[in-house]
Amino acid sequence: MSDNPTAGVNREDLRALIAEELELPTEEVTDEANLRTDLAVDSLTAMEVAVQLEKKYRIKIDEEEIKSLTTLATIHQLVSAKLETAR
């Protein structure tokens, strides 16, 4: 994926990555499930998610942006935008 940013971000890949980080079955990571309130993600785990996103997609996520990692949908949006900018 990161070798070809123009291919976009596969939402299911992203779902699998987040599910792995949160130690949850992928089906629990729905598009709109709120990481903090629905999936009990604390700030440390959110940072882990951010680190793994950075590694997989070779992007940089600022500390302030970690707060915006609220749902799969918003994460998808953020990662896609960053990859688009990097083109």
Binding site: L22, E23, L24, A40, L44, T45, M47, E48, V51
Partner: protein, 366 residues
């Protein structure tokens, strides 16, 4: 010589995790080798949030779960502000810190795992324990070489005596040193291993002999309460400490160890000693108790951690007796710190332990 003593604890529950150990009854057995996969974290700690923790933290949490479960619901029946934790560590984070250093040097600080980074602070092991059990009364980490586990008992006793806590998890946790950190020769191979070679040891060698040097691995946790009003399911315990200056250890041993052990020694003393001047002096002083009590010398490797002494406490409490039985554990470090825990083991028949009555509402609930 000054000997510091504190109040008395009731031991309600116990948990121990280590290679080849399946429960408190195994805690006196020779330590098994820490073969890869000996600890099954997913079995010991089912659920989310544990995977990225350092292994040592997992040992501690697993042992604490066992201890808290063993004690029934008494911890959750205690107000969170009256719950405390005293955790002993020595080598627990050493290999982890080395790995973190390596990551920083080779890849940069940004590559450090957010989950393991907090463990740069050695108090994080006890902090995580407190998070696990919603402990908000107090949380202390003790680092004294070898003696820290028994000193944690002493701290807990002082806290309950001051009514600062009504339930304290007292733990010790250790992790193996990395190959570059482990500099100890094979146990007993040192020409100066006089403690190991003392007449006492030849008939009563303890667990560490079969361990690789510097490889204390695992955790032990005791759920303790005030002796008065608590549930002495396993028994009661007092701990005290003293200091024996290494330079004059042989000369001062009687003056220091005499008051520490007291005039009425228990039926058995397990002494965790290395081959330092302090350990040797302690072993020779204990020799005089032959005929009065059984002395079991547990040789400690040069880089010993603090787990073995507390593990001996667990093992002695787990033994069955038909009458109240007095036991003790003595630990000494090469630096001169001495710690002594006096146990009175509650009698019980068969292998079953009586459960404690639930705490009454007036004692506080969550």
């Amino acid at each position: 010589m000054v000997t510091v003593s504190t109040g008395e604890l009731a031991v309600v529950g116990m948990g121990v995790v280590g290679p080849g150990i399946s429960g408190p009854a195994d805690a006196l057995a020779p330590a098994g080798a820490a073969a890869p996969g000996w600890f099954r974290a997913q079995v010991a700690l089912p659920g989310r949030g544990y995977r990225r923790l350092p292994d040592a933290c997992k040992y501690l949490l697993a042992a604490s779960r066992l201890a808290v479960g063993d004690a029934g619901d008494r911890l959750t029946q205690t107000e969170r502000d009256h719950r405390g934790a005293a955790v002993a560590i020595n080598n627990t984070g050493a290999a982890l810190l080395e790995a973190m250093d390596r990551t920083i040097m080779r890849e940069g600080a940004a590559e450090m795992s957010p989950s393991s980074s907090p463990f740069i602070a050695m108090s994080s092991f006890a902090s995580r324990l407190s998070m696990e059990h919603d402990i908000t009364g107090f949380n202390l980490t003790v680092n004294s070489p070898v003696t820290a586990g028994l000193e944690a008992l002493q701290i807990a006793a002082r806290a309950v005596a001051a009514a600062r806590a009504r339930a304290v998890l007292v733990g010790a946790v250790e992790e193996a040193l990395s190959p570059s950190q482990s500099r100890a020769p094979a146990l007993g191979s040192s020409p100066q291993s006089s403690a190991v070679g003392s007449p006492l040891c030849s008939s009563a060698l303890g667990s560490s002999l079969s361990s690789a040097p510097g490889t204390e691995v695992g955790a032990a946790v005791l759920h303790c309460e005030p002796a008065v009003g608590g549930c002495a399911r396993y028994g009661t315990c007092r701990a005290r400490g003293a200091f024996l200056a290494p330079g004059v250890a042989a000369r001062d041993a009687p003056a220091v160890l005499g008051p520490l052990v007291g005039d009425d020694p228990p039926g058995r003393i397990d002494a965790v000693l290395d081959d330092s001047a302090v350990g040797t002096a302690a072993a020779r002083w204990l020799d005089r108790l032959t005929g009065t009590c059984e002395v079991v010398i547990v040789p400690a490797p040069a880089q010993a951690g603090c787990l073995t002494p507390l593990q001996r406490v667990v093992g002695l409490f787990a033994q069955e007796h038909t009458a109240p039985t007095r036991r003790a554990v003595l630990a000494a470090s090469a630096q001169g710190t001495l710690a002594y825990a006096e146990l009175t083991v509650t009698p019980r028949g068969g292998s079953s332990l009586e459960p404690c009555a639930p705490r009454v509402a007036a004692e506080g609930g969550k």
